[in-house]
């Protein structure tokens, strides 16, 4: 049912495929804004009454609203015409309700407009039942049923929360917007075990198993705009561990992912140029973060394995190992002002880092620069109040390895190796 909700919502309010979408998105935005406003009024009314805080942690309502401007020159990352765009809207609303001592319900709805980055529209980010299976002074064990968020990578749980992530646009080699709806969470079961000791610090172990629905628009985004069939995720299994030594400014993490997809052309009569196929994706990351008073350093290093069996022809085979990393530093100039610098380097096939083979094999249809993605980012964040921030950033990008569609790229629009973008975003949350 949840999967239907996610796909339907995304499809229904979705995008530039039909011309009605402008009106619809405006309507959806108006609805969400009204809802948010109502939520604000309710919360402040409760606070003013000041009578009962007893239930304040039993029921919680939170949300965020953000709007920005983004300008990309030299790629179709946001739009096809390369003009300045206001397609940088993120609105979210979540609620948490403590049913009993052991059980809690939580859900979040998000509306996104990011141009080509992902499907425009509303979606259910998570909707889960949280079972607090065991808790004492130093241990906590929780099991989550339903749609849960991916919590395994450094920024996977904050990637869609504008003010909680480090930049407007995240390192695309890990937090690829084209995969957002598949990578942000799954429908299934997840477990988290936390342990704190004074001697060894904090440990967090997590396991998750589930799958994400894939809409037709996402299928086109990921595979090819000509794909007529349906893609499905069979499963997504992930594990991770995080360790923060006692009273340390450092934290270290490891994560593993194994996922499998199938593509069904939908019978011979469908007219699809692509064939039934199986895709597998494995992803391993290591990360570290240092959080000091003024300086913060973080980085992730990763390897992925992507295989295709079929698709282009019934006996087509592909098995690529991609590798990458990013290093990021933030400096708090004042309590309100934070500067950001980041370098990201990624290639899709470690046997073909410069993409020469790719260009050769495809007879020049796919230029060499589709084999990698490098991004230098500089940014600044200003916290206007405790709940209101402004952010600005500039990206110098080399390569088209992280643009949609992924499997059959668009080399006509993306005709240069170098492209740039800047973005500015205002964010409010409660």
């Amino acid at each position: 049912m949840l999967s239907k909700l996610k796909t339907n919502a995304a499809v229904e309010v979705s995008s530039r495929v039909n011309n009605l979408s402008g009106d619809r998105s405006l309507l959806a935005r108006t609805y969400l804004c009204t809802f948010l406003l109502a939520a604000c009024v309710v919360t402040s009314a409760q606070a003013e009454e000041g009578t009962s805080y007893a239930n304040s942690q039993d029921f919680q309502l939170h949300g965020f609203i953000s709007q920005g401007l983004i300008d990309v020159n030299g790629s179709d990352f946001v739009n096809d015409d390369g003009g300045l765009s206001a397609e940088l809207t993120e609105i979210g609303l979540n609620a948490s309700y403590q049913l009993t001592n052991k059980f809690r319900l939580a859900a979040q709805v998000v509306y996104l407009d990011g141009g080509n980055r992902y499907s425009q529209g509303a979606r259910v980010d998570y909707a889960l039942l949280d079972w607090s299976a065991y808790t004492n002074e130093s241990w906590q064990a929780n099991v989550y049923f339903g749609r849960f968020k991916n919590n395994h990578w450094l920024y996977s749980s904050s990637r869609d929360i504008p003010f909680a992530r480090p930049s407007i646009i995240l390192p695309q080699s890990v937090y690829f917007d084209g995969f957002r709806d598949i990578a942000v969470g799954s429908d299934g079961i997840a477990a988290k075990l936390s342990h704190s000791t004074d001697e060894y610090g904090n440990f967090d172990w997590q396991l998750s198993y589930g799958s994400s629905p894939i809409s037709d628009e996402q299928t086109k985004n990921i595979l090819s705009e000509y794909a007529q069939g349906t893609a499905e995720q069979d499963y997504d299994a992930q594990a991770s561990i995080y360790w923060q030594p006692a009273f340390s400014s450092w934290r270290f993490g490891l994560s593993l992912l194994d996922a499998s997809f199938t593509y069904d052309q939908g019978g011979v009569g469908s007219g699809d140029v692509f064939f039934d196929s199986d895709f597998t994706f494995q992803f391993y990351t290591m990360n570290a973060i240092y959080a000091g008073e003024k300086w913060e350093f973080s980085g992730e290093i990763y390897q992925q394995r992507f295989t295709i069996d079929g698709f282009y022809s019934p006996d087509f085979q592909l098995d690529n190992i991609g590798q990458g990393f990013y290093l990021q530093s933030r400096y708090k100039l004042t309590q309100q002002l934070t500067l950001l610098a980041r370098y990201e380097d990624f290639y899709l096939n470690k046997e073909d880092k410069d993409g020469k083979k790719l260009q050769q094999i495809t007879g020049g249809d796919i230029p060499y620069y589709f084999a990698f993605h490098k991004d230098i980012t500089l940014g600044v964040n200003y916290d206007i109040t405790s709940n209101f921030s402004m952010r600005m950033e500039y990206h110098w990008v080399k390569g088209a390895g992280r643009l949609t569609p992924v499997v059959v790229p668009n080399a006509i629009i993306n005709n240069t190796e170098d492209w740039q973008m800047w973005a500015v975003q205002l964010m409010y949350w409660f």
Partner: protein, 156 residues
């Protein structure tokens, strides 16, 4: 009189709980666990309800650094992650010290923090309005006869 309200080793920020909370003292790491939402229950299994001031409030900034030895932005990250990923529940933010006192005194299992000056004011108003009974903060007793708050001692 004022001197005995504030013992020398206690810094200018006090940790307070609802009067029914049985804990009279907490270790520094227990306090950290509670505020980073890694300890969710008191020793008698009652749920802990955590109250904080807005992140840019001067007292919150000092509490984070001096009492928890965590930078305020790190606390924000931990709480945002819980709140916006569905993983758990973050502390409840109240606007002022006055509101925080009210919230902690009205919520069973609650914990919060207040500035020394506010605590003294609160005690004085109690002393003015009732008996001459001396307050002994070392025992973590109630600030007023009606049982408004407990002051919890923080040990290293």
């Amino acid at each position: 009189m004022l001197a005995c309200l504030v013992t020398p080793q206690v810094a200018a920020i006090e940790v307070v709980t609802h009067p029914q909370v049985t804990e009279r003292s907490l270790t520094k790491s227990q306090l950290r666990r509670i505020y980073t939402m890694r300890q969710l229950r008191w020793s008698d299994n009652q749920a802990i309800t955590v109250f904080v001031l807005p992140s840019q409030h001067a007292l919150h900034q000092r509490f984070a650094k001096e009492r928890l030895q965590i930078f305020p932005y790190q606390l924000n990250r931990i709480w945002h992650k819980l709140t916006y990923s569905g993983l758990g529940v973050a502390p409840t933010v109240v606007k002022s010290e006055q509101e925080l006192i009210q919230a902690v005194s009205n919520t069973p299992g609650a914990i919060g923090y207040i500035g020394e000056a506010t605590l003294i004011k609160l005690s004085q108003s109690f002393n003015d309005s009732s008996s001459q009974q001396p307050l002994n903060m070392d025992d973590g007793q109630k600030v007023s006869g009606k049982g408004v708050l407990n002051v919890v001692k923080i040990k290293d």
